[in-house]
């Protein structure tokens, strides 16, 4: 098969996978609950995408995710403001969560920073080892 046809086929298949993952994901997310609170009242949801603890309250805490601040009722033992967390919680309309389980991802910021170094090293060596021949649209060894 022609190389260009293979490239187009792979690119189309990858795009289709991205679309399918977005369109048919059965997970209930916090934005979905907040958009239709009555529909998802009482649902158990998992919240783990870039969630941080905003404030510790007497009966719980608030979390921050994508510009929203949501109150969570539950124990706060060991929690600190700014911690990255992953939650399993029951959603109560209109915008409240009842904590079921929590994981504090302490070290997440360090993990992100540390992860940058191998990427820089590997990309640097690859750029030194290979070059892109624009005319032939192909990567060749230097």
């Amino acid at each position: 098969m022609n190389r260009w046809i293979r490239i187009l086929l792979y690119a189309a298949a990858l795009s289709a996978l991205i679309w399918y993952g977005h369109a048919y994901n059965p997970a209930i997310t916090l934005p979905m609950c907040l958009a239709q609170p009555q529909r998802y009242d009482g649902s158990v949801i998992e919240i783990g995408t870039e969630v941080t603890v905003r404030e510790i309250l007497p009966d719980g805490f608030t979390i921050h995710q994508m510009g929203r601040v949501i109150p969570v009722q539950g124990p706060t033992v060991g929690l600190r403001e700014g911690d990255f967390v992953v939650l399993s919680a029951v959603f109560h309309a209109p915008d409240r969560l009842q904590l079921k389980d929590i994981y504090v991802a302490r070290g997440r910021r360090r993990k992100i920073v540390v992860s940058i170094f191998p990427v820089i090293v590997v990309l640097y060596v690859l750029i030194r080892t290979y070059r892109f021949d624009v005319r032939r649209f192909i990567i060749v060894e230097r």
Binding site: A11, A13, P118
Partner: protein, 161 residues
């Protein structure tokens, strides 16, 4: 996911195997690839997380490896393809040992949304071992460099006789 130093370390010694050596850095790149594809968007644009669901899955990584291999010269394409596939497979193998509070990775996407994992460590746990991984890699590089130097000087000596 463990951080990428741990992923790189998992591939480091294998990269010196004679089969991988000519494409060692592509293999190292591939072991980082599933996270390189998904995490930047996940971290910088969490509102687009829905679009990253497919990206950190074996089938997507498989497709990306095939696509990337097509960009390489025909003379090295097959080796590059296998290096990319092996690197991604190693990445997912390490991820399989993690545990998550929320659903983990959807290994059989798009055929199933079920997740399973061995659950030996939390994603942040290997961070403590990073200095050891870096130390071992530096030590091995030094030993390898010394060995190469000795071999080269031995060859020069033989040539001079």
């Amino acid at each position: 996911m463990p951080e990428l130093v741990t992923h790189a370390f998992s591939a480091y010694f294998l990269g010196y195997h004679r089969w991988f050596r000519p494409v060692r850095w592509i293999f190292y790149f591939a072991v980082l690839l599933p996270d390189l594809l998904s995490r930047p968007l996940y971290i910088l644009r969490p509102q687009w997380v829905g679009y990253t669901v497919a990206v950190h899955t074996p089938i997507f990584a498989f497709g990306v490896c095939l696509l990337l291999a097509e960009l390489f010269a025909a003379s090295i394409r097959n080796r590059v393809r296998w290096a990319l596939l092996s690197g991604c497979a190693l990445h997912f193998l390490l991820d399989l040992f993690q545990r998550h509070l929320e659903s983990g990775y959807i290994w059989l996407f798009p055929f199933s949304w079920e997740s399973f994992e061995i659950g030996l460590f939390w994603p942040e746990a290997p961070l403590r071992l990073v200095p050891i991984w870096i130390g071992l890699m530096i030590l091995f590089e030094l030993i390898w460099w010394q060995r190469q130097k000795r071999l080269e000087s031995g060859q020069v000596g033989m040539g001079g006789q």
